[in-house]
Amino acid sequence: MISTRARLVEGHLQLEITAGATQNDHHPGGVGEGRELVSRLLHAHFKDDKTKVSGDSLQLMAELLKIFVVEAAVRAVRQAQAEDAILVDVDQLEKVLPQLVRECGSVHRWECLAGRPHLSASSPQLLDF
């Protein structure tokens, strides 16, 4: 069912992505996730309708997200290189993600793990209460 949905909305899908890319070009220094996309991502999770985001914050969030992705990628590469792997696979990624999330993750997700070292070593999927 998911694939059907993906096909059906593909026309819209293309538009959405293109819109994001075009937005990017008009914003000097607005590399990485486009401002429009960042805005939509944040607003999708706000609890209050009245919550707004300043333009500068959107740009800064775009930078934060970009560095988050790049850092994840770079750490995974380093892990793969350390293991002499020919490509970066999920096995390598899983080893570096917990630390990364620890460095950028939200407080309430990690406090409860403080006394459980065996849990914090596993994949982030486990943390979805």
Binding site: H45, V77, S106
Partner: protein
């Protein structure tokens, strides 16, 4: 009535799927740059995993930002709230703080140029053209 609720649910799901796909595309582009730079290939599953993680991390970020602003009795999230997100890692915090100053500087310059443009509006059209070129070059 049940049909309406179901249709709404499907719309929300489809919107979320489109957002995820857009994130996936951007993450793919960023990983591609890293792959070229480090001369290492990423498996498709790895890209998908980073993309999924980023999407979920956005939810955490959004909720935290909203809480920070609310705590400061504001409805508009500002750069101070964003910097709080980066507090756990000294290097990340420094990077974000530097970026925030860079962005503020660029925007101040942009506003100054726009103000100058509208002031000189009727006069030197050549000057206008130059300012326009500089802006698009960035």
């Amino acid at each position: 009535m049940e049909e309406e609720a179901e249709a709404e649910e499907q719309q929300r799901f489809s919107y979320q799927q489109r957002l995820k796909a857009a994130v996936h595309y951007t993450v793919g582009c960023l990983c591609e740059e890293v792959a070229l730079d480090k001369e290492m290939q990423f498996s498709k599953q790895t890209i998908a995993a980073i993309s999924e993680l980023t999407f979920r991390q956005c939810e955490n970020f959004a909720k935290d930002l909203e809480m920070f602003a609310r705590h400061a009795r504001r409805t508009t999230i500002n750069t101070e709230d964003v910097k709080l997100l980066a507090r756990r890692s000294n290097s990340l915090l420094k990077y974000i703080t530097d970026k925030s100053e860079e962005i503020a500087q660029i925007n101040v310059e942009r506003k100054a140029r726009k103000k100058k443009k509208s002031e000189d509006g009727n006069h030197n059209s050549r000057e206008l053209a130059e300012a326009g070129v500089v802006e698009s070059e960035k």
